[in-house]
Symmetry: C2
Subunit: 76 residues, 2 copies
Amino acid sequence: MNLQELFGKRVRELRQKQELSQEALAFKAGIDRTYMTSIENGKRNVSIQNIEKVITALDVPVKDFFASDIFIEGKK
Amino acid sequence: MNLQELFGKRVRELRQKQELSQEALAFKAGIDRTYMTSIENGKRNVSIQNIEKVITALDVPVKDFFASDIFIEGKK
């Protein structure tokens, strides 16, 4: 998996942990819902400004967001 | 500082630690040198595909790249 796909996987993991719908997270992040769906599906070459919006909306420090084993296992 | 600027700051930190020139890192990452300069200066809304190219070229795991206090102090 590439980083784009791993990023989507981690967003989904955190969103579901917080029991947020994609729509709710998209709204919080100020991002269109369909754009959020494509981010989670790893289909979007998301920009760092939108990465920041999503991570901020998930209310997780950047360090913690990327401290997940998703970014290790995924790379094998 | 926003994430775009913090990302650039961290790239510069790691590049200089490895005593690489911007040109050398840009070449390793397959990115244009001027693009790399703008990334380091926090002026580029860099995409996740290019983020992956740069982190891979720095030969640092994603987790370790973002485990830096740059991403904490910078956010204050």
